[in-house]
C-alpha cells in the first residue's frame, strides 16, 4: 500500500496537471482541478509521512533503475512541499483569476509538484536527476508566462540553473563511477581521494545552485519582478530551498562523510558566508517589495549552507531547521507582497505607505514573518539561527561574525521595508485600498501561525521532522529542542537587533523617510561605487558568463573561418595555380608536344629497363 502511495505521489499530480492543461481555457474549472490536485497530493503526503518503504524496479543495465525510498527525510520534504503547494494554489485562486495564462500556471504548478515529489523520493541518482532537471521546464514556463518581456528572465533562469544542472550531471556520473552503484543509500565515498572529491564538488554546485546560492543566483531578483508572484512563493522560496538543501544534506550526510575540519567543509562554510553577505547587502538598497525579498531568498540560503557545512550536529540541525523555517517565512513574505500588489497595483516602495491600517491582517502576517526572518525571539527563525551560530562558533569566530553581520543587515532591511510599506503616509492613489480576499489571507495566516508555532513550541518540528533525519548516532546524544541556549549567543543576537533598530532610526532621521532608511549605508564612501557597479550588472554571473561565452565564440568562430578559408580559399588557390602551371605547357605548338611525347616514352623505357 505504501509503495503504491509513493507512485501516486508522483503520478497523481502529473495526471491532474494534464487535466488542468486540457481545461486551461475554462478559468474556474481549471482552478478547481488544480485545487483538487493540491488537496489530493497533500492527503497522499500525509499518509506517507512517518512511514518507511522502498521500491526497486530494475529498469536498465546502465544504472537507471526505478528506485524510491521513503523515510523520515524524504517523507518530510514531500509533506512540506505538499503543504506549500496547497497554500499557494488556494492563494492563487483570487490572485491569478482573470489573468492571462492562469491555466498554464496551474498546469505547471502541479507538474512541478510531481517532479519535486519524484526528486525527493528517488533513491537512484539518475532518477533523481531526471526529476530534478525536469523542474527546469516548469521554471522556464512559469516565469515566461509572467508580464510581457518576462522571457528574458526566464531564459536567464534556464541558462543559470541549466548550467548548474549539467555540472550536477557530471558529478552524478563521477559519483556513480567511483561508488560502483547509483543507489544513494548504498553510497559511501570518502573525500580523501581526488576522484570522489571532484564528484563532491560538482554535486555541491548542483545542490547549492538549486537552493539559490552564489554564483547561480542572479535570476531570482529578475524573476521576482517578471514572474507571476505565486511562482516566487512556490519555487525560489519553498520548493527549490527544500530540494536543494535536502540534496545538500544527503550529499554531506549520506553519500560522503563530511567531517568538521576538512577543507570541503570550510569551502561550504565560506560559500555560505559569502552568499549571506553579498545578497543581503544587495537586499538593503532595493526599492521594490518583491526584489528586496528575492535578495533575501538568496541570502538566507547562505545560513543553511553555512549550518550544514559546519558538519557539527548543532549546525546541521540548525541548517535543516532553517530550511523549513525559511520556506515558511519567505513564502509568507512573498504572499504578503502579492496581496499588496493585488490591492494597490504596485510593489514600488516609493508609491506605498501606511498600509498597516488599511490591510491589518496582511500587515500582521508580514510582521510575524519579518520578525521570523530577522531572528527575533520567539519566532522560528530565531531558533534555527541560534543553532547555526552555535555550530559556526564551534568552527571559527569569523563565520559567526559573518552570520551575525548578515543578521544585522537583514533586520535593517526589513525595518526599512516594513516602515516604507506599512507606516508613514498613505499616498493619494492608495486612499481606497481594502484588505485582500479571504482565500489569500487564509494561506498567509496559516503560514504565520506555523512561524509562531515552530518557534514557541520548537520541540514539534525538531523532534518530529529534523532530528530524526540525523539519527541518534549523529546527534551524539544532544537534543536541541526547547529553550536552553548559550546565553552569550542570545545576548549577541539581541545586541545586533537593537543596533539594527538604532541604525534604522538614524537612517530615517537623516533621510526623512522610511524608504531612505538605508541610504546612509548605500551612499557611504566606497560602498557607493560598488553598489553602482552591481546595479549595472557588472558582477552578475550571468552577464559575465555570457561575455565569456561570447569570447570563446569569437575564438572558435575564427578557427572555423580559418578552416573554411583553407577549403574555399587555399585549396582553390592551389588548384588554380597548378592548372595555370600545367596550362603554360600547352602552348599549341606541335613540335613541343612531340618533344614531350618522346621524353615521356624515353622515361618509360628507362624505368622498364631499370626494373628488369
Amino acid at each position: 500500500m505504501t509503495n503504491n502511495l509513493m507512485y501516486f505521489a508522483i503520478l497523481l499530480p502529473a495526471v491532474i496537471s494534464l487535466l488542468a492543461f486540457a481545461t486551461r481555457k475554462m478559468g474556474k474549472v481549471c482552478a478547481a482541478t488544480a485545487l483538487l490536485g493540491a488537496v489530493v497530493n497533500l492527503v497522499v503526503a500525509i499518509k506517507l509521512f512517518g512511514q518507511t518503504a522502498a521500491v526497486h524496479v530494475p529498469w536498465t543495465s546502465w544504472g537507471l533503475d526505478f528506485t524510491l525510498r521513503l523515510y523520515s527525510f524524504s517523507g518530510f520534504i514531500v509533506l512540506a512541499a505538499a503543504g506549500f503547494a496547497l497554500a499557494i494554489t488556494l492563494y492563487s485562486l483570487p490572485f491569478m483569476a482573470k489573468r492571462e495564462h492562469s491555466g498554464l500556471f496551474y498546469f505547471q504548478l502541479l507538474l512541478s509538484v510531481a517532479f519535486a515529489n519524484g526528486a525527493a523520493l528517488a533513491d537512484n541518482l539518475i532518477l533523481l536527476l531526471f526529476f530534478w532537471e525536469g523542474l527546469l521546464i516548469t521554471l522556464y514556463g512559469l516565469i515566461a508566462i509572467g508580464r510581457p518581456g518576462a522571457w528574458k528572465s526566464a531564459m536567464k533562469a534556464l541558462v543559470l540553473v541549466g548550467v548548474s544542472d549539467v555540472c550536477m550531471m557530471f558529478g552524478i556520473a563521477l559519483a556513480g563511477h567511483f561508488a560502483g552503484t547509483m543507489q544513494i543509500s548504498k553510497m559511501h565515498l570518502v573525500l580523501t581521494e581526488t576522484g570522489p572529491t571532484l564528484a563532491f564538488l560538482f554535486l555541491i554546485i548542483g545542490a547549492t545552485a538549486k537552493a539559490g546560492a552564489l554564483p547561480f543566483h542572479s535570476w531570482i531578483p529578475d524573476a521576482a519582478e517578471d514572474a507571476p508572484l505565486p511562482f516566487m512563493a512556490l519555487m525560489p522560496a519553498a520548493f527549490e530551498k527544500l530540494l536543494g538543501i535536502y540534496f545538500l544534506a544527503r550529499i554531506t550526510l549520506d553519500m560522503f562523510a563530511l567531517t568538521p575540519g576538512s577543507w570541503c567543509s570550510t569551502l561550504l562554510m565560506t560559500l555560505g558566508a559569502i552568499t549571506i553577505l553579498v545578497a543581503v547587502m544587495m537586499a538593503l538598497i532595493q526599492k521594490d517589495y518583491k526584489r528586496l525579498l528575492a535578495y533575501h531568498a538568496i541570502s538566507q540560503v547562505g545560513y543553511m549552507i553555512l549550518g550544514i557545512g559546519t558538519a557539527v550536529p548543532a549546525g546541521i540541525v540548525g541548517g535543516l531547521f532553517h530550511m523549513i523555517n525559511h520556506a515558511l517565512y519567505k513564502s509568507g513574505l512573498f504572499l504578503s507582497g502579492g496581496s499588496v500588489e493585488r490591492q494597490t497595483g504596485t510593489t514600488d516602495l516609493s508609491k506605498l505607505g501606511g498600509l498597516a491600517r488599511q490591510m491589518p491582517i496582511t500587515f500582521f502576517c508580514f510582521f510575524v514573518t519579518a520578525c521570523s526572518i530577522s531572528g527575533v525571539p520567539p519566532f522560528n527563525g530565531f531558533i534555527s539561527k541560534e543553532l547555526i551560530y552555535d555550530g559556526a562558533l564551534e568552527r571559527g569566530g569569523i563565520f559567526y561574525a559573518a552570520a551575525l553581520l548578515g543578521s544585522f543587515l537583514t533586520a535593517a532591511s526589513f525595518l526599512k521595508l516594513g516602515h516604507s510599506a506599512y507606516f508613514g503616509k498613505v499616498s493619494e492613489a492608495n486612499k481606497n485600498v481594502k484588505e485582500a480576499p479571504w482565500a489569500m489571507l487564509v494561506p498567509m495566516l496559516t503560514i504565520a501561525g506555523f512561524c509562531i508555532l515552530f518557534g514557541v513550541y520548537n520541540q514539534l518540528p525538531l523532534h518530529k521532522l529534523i532530528q530524526p533525519v540525523l539519527g541518534e548516532h549523529r546527534l551524539e546524544g544532544h537534543d536541541y529542542a526547547g529553550w536552553h541556549f548559550n546565553i552569550m549567543l542570545v545576548v549577541g543576537t539581541l545586541v545586533v537587533l537593537a543596533l539594527a533598530l538604532l541604525n534604522h532610526f538614524i537612517g530615517v532621521k537623516r533621510s526623512g523617510s522610511g524608504i531612505g532608511a538605508a541610504d546612509h549605508i548605500h551612499y557611504a564612501p566606497g560602498l557607493h561605487q560598488a553598489y553602482d557597479a552591481a546595479e549595472k550588472g557588472w558582477f552578475d554571473p550571468y552577464e559575465l558568463g555570457l561575455t565569456l561565452a561570447r569570447g570563446v565564440g569569437r575564438v572558435t568562430w575564427g578557427v572555423d573561418r580559418f578552416i573554411n578559408w583553407v577549403s574555399d580559399g587555399l585549396a582553390v588557390g592551389v588548384t588554380a595555380m597548378f592548372s595555370y602551371l600545367v596550362r603554360s605547357f600547352h602552348t599549341g605548338s606541335l613540335p613541343i608536344y612531340l618533344w614531350w611525347a618522346i621524353a615521356g616514352v624515353a622515361l618509360v623505357i628507362i624505368l622498364l629497363v631499370k626494373v628488369n
Binding site: 532537471e133 522571457w151 541549466g162 550531471m169 552524478i172 555570457l546 570563446v552 565564440g553 569569437r554
Partner: protein, 480 residues
C-alpha cells in the same frame, strides 16, 4: 517471406522504386507523393519486422558470390537500429515535403533524389562488404549534391559543388584505406576482415585514411565547413542531411568499421575523442555568433555529432550505448528543429534571426515544437536527449580522459546558451516581420509529431535504451 528477402526489399524497394517517381509524376502528382512516402514506409515496415529476429540473437545474411567477395548484406542489431532511425525520420521528412516542396518546381527530381537517398542509406546500413558500402556511400554523395543545389542559382550550385568535393575527397581517401585493408586482410567481406584482423591491428595509415572519409561525411573538424554552407538547400533536405541520414552515415560507418569489425589500436581511443571534443567546442562557439537560422542549426549539428563520436570512440559499454541512443534522439530532435526552421523561412522569407521575433503569437505549434526539440538537444528531461547525453558523459567519465569530458561539459553549457538564444530571438519578443499564420497542416503536423516523438523517447526510455544496450552488447561480443 524469409528474413533475408525482407532485408533485401528494405534496400531495393526505395532504390529502384525511386526511379519510377518521375514517370508517375508525369501522370499524377498526388499519386507520386503518396508513392514516395510509401517507398520509405516499406523500409520502415521492413526494419520493424527485423527487430524481433535480431533481438532474439539472429544475424541475417544475404550472400551472393561475386568477383569481390561473398557477403552482400547483413542485418545485426546495430544495422536494424540505424535503419529504423533513418527510415522513421526520413518518412516524416518525406511527409513534410508534401507541404513544403509543393511551392517549387522540379518536384519529380526532388522526390526521385530524396527516396534514392534514403534507399542508398538503407543499403549502406546493411552493407557487409567494403565495396558495397563504398558504392552506396557515393550514391548518397551524388544525391545530396543535386539536392543541395536544388534551387539552381549559381551561388547555390557552388555550395553544392563544395559539399560534393569535400565529401568526395574524403570518400576517395577512404577507398584508398579500404584497399589497404583488403591488402592486409585479404578480403572485402567484413566478417572475413574481422577474423583476419584478430591479433593484427590495422595499420595507422589505413585508419587515418578511412577516418578522413568518415569525418568528411559527418562534418567533423577539419572537414566540417561544407555543412553550414549546405544550408542553402530546401529545408526538408537540410533536415535529411543533418538529422536523419547524411551526417549519421559517418558515425554509423565508424561504429560498423572500427567498433564492430576492425578494432583500433589503443592510441585512437585518445585521438578520436580529442578531435570530437575540439569539433564540438568550435562548432558550439561558432553557433553562438551565427545569425543565419539554418547555418546556426548546422553548427549545432556539427557540435552534437562530436558527442556521438565521443560515445562511440571512447570505449566502454555505457558510452557506446549512449552514442547509439544519441543518434536516435538527435535525429528526431534536430529533424524537428530544421523542419520548424523551414516553416519559419517559408512563411517569413527570412533566415536572419536578428530580423525575426515574436513568432510564437501567430505560430504557437511551431514555436512549442521548436522549444521541445531545443530542450531535447540541450538534454532536459523528460525528453529523450537527456538520457543520451547523460549516458555519453557518464560513459566517458569512466575513462581516463577527464579533460576531454570536461570540454564536453563546457560544450553542453554553450549548447544551452546558443539554442535558447535562437528560440528567444525567433519566437519571443516583439515581432519584426509581418506576422504570418502557421505553415500548412501537413508541415505543422510533421513538426508536432517529431516533438511528440522526443517526449515519447524520454518517457518510454526503456525501449530505445534496451535496444541500444542490446546492440552494444552484441557489438562488444558479450552476447551472440
Amino acid at each position: 517471406m524469409s528474413l533475408d528477402t525482407i532485408m533485401l526489399l528494405v534496400v531495393v524497394v526505395p532504390v529502384f522504386g525511386s526511379l519510377l517517381l518521375p514517370l508517375v509524376g508525369k501522370v499524377c502528382k498526388s499519386t507520386r507523393n503518396g508513392l514516395a512516402l510509401l517507398l520509405v514506409l516499406v523500409s520502415l515496415a521492413g526494419s520493424l519486422m527485423l527487430i524481433g529476429p535480431v533481438m532474439s540473437g539472429k544475424v541475417i545474411t544475404l550472400t551472393f558470390p561475386t568477383g569481390f567477395g561473398q557477403m552482400m548484406l547483413m542485418a545485426d542489431r546495430l544495422a536494424v537500429f540505424m535503419a529504423l532511425v533513418s527510415s522513421l525520420v526520413g518518412a516524416i521528412i518525406v511527409f513534410y515535403s508534401w507541404g513544403y516542396i509543393s511551392h517549387y518546381e522540379n518536384q519529380n527530381e526532388y522526390y526521385l533524389l530524396v527516396v534514392l537517398f534514403l534507399g542508398a542509406m538503407m543499403g549502406l546500413v546493411f552493407a557487409a562488404n567494403l565495396l558495397i558500402l563504398y558504392i552506396f556511400w557515393e550514391i548518397t554523395a551524388i544525391a545530396s549534391w543535386r539536392l543541395i543545389g536544388f534551387f539552381r542559382s549559381p551561388a547555390i550550385v557552388l555550395r553544392a559543388d563544395k559539399s560534393f568535393l569535400v565529401t568526395f575527397f574524403g570518400a576517395t581517401m577512404m577507398l584508398l584505406g579500404f584497399i589497404m585493408v583488403r591488402e592486409q586482410a585479404g578480403s572485402w567481406d567484413l566478417p572475413a576482415i574481422k577474423a583476419a584482423l584478430v591479433g593484427h591491428p590495422l595499420s595507422s595509415a589505413a585508419v587515418a585514411l578511412i577516418l578522413l572519409g568518415i569525418l568528411s561525411k559527418s562534418a567533423t573538424l577539419p572537414l566540417q565547413t561544407w555543412l553550414p554552407d549546405a544550408g542553402v538547400a530546401p529545408s526538408p533536405v537540410t533536415a535529411l542531411l543533418h538529422a536523419a541520414v547524411l551526417v549519421k552515415i559517418g558515425v554509423y560507418a565508424y561504429a560498423r568499421l572500427f567498433v564492430v569489425n576492425m578494432p583500433l589500436p589503443e592510441i585512437w581511443q585518445t585521438i578520436v575523442p580529442a578531435i570530437a571534443g575540439v569539433s564540438a567546442l568550435v562548432a558550439a562557439g561558432a553557433a553562438l555568433l551565427e545569425t543565419d537560422l539554418k547555418r546556426l542549426i548546422a553548427f549545432s549539428t556539427i557540435s552534437q555529432i562530436g558527442f556521438i563520436f565521443l560515445g562511440l570512440s571512447i570505449g566502454g559499454e555505457l558510452a557506446l550505448a549512449g552514442g547509439l541512443l544519441y543518434i536516435l534522439m538527435h535525429g528526431v530532435a534536430k529533424g524537428g528543429l530544421f523542419l520548424c526552421a523551414g516553416i519559419v523561412e517559408q512563411n517569413t522569407h527570412c533566415k536572419d534571426i536578428t530580423k525575426l521575433g515574436g513568432l510564437i503569437k501567430t505560430m504557437p505549434v511551431t514555436a512549442i515544437a521548436f522549444l521541445i526539440c531545443t530542450f531535447s538537444v540541450i538534454g532536459i528531461p523528460p525528453l529523450g536527449g537527456f538520457f543520451s547525453k547523460y549516458m555519453v558523459i557518464a560513459g566517458a567519465a569512466k575513462g581516463p580522459h577527464l579533460w576531454i569530458v570536461l570540454s564536453f561539459v563546457g560544450t553542453a553549457f554553450l549548447t544551452i546558451i546558443y539554442l535558447m538564444r535562437v528560440f528567444v530571438m525567433v519566437f519571443m519578443g516583439e515581432p519584426k516581420t509581418e506576422l504570418k499564420s502557421e505553415g500548412s497542416p501537413v508541415m505543422v503536423w510533421s513538426v508536432a509529431l517529431l516533438a511528440l516523438l522526443s517526449i515519447a523517447g524520454g518517457l518510454l526510455i526503456y525501449y530505445p535504451s534496451f535496444f541500444a544496450t542490446e546492440a552494444t552488447r552484441q557489438i562488444l561480443g558479450l552476447i551472440p
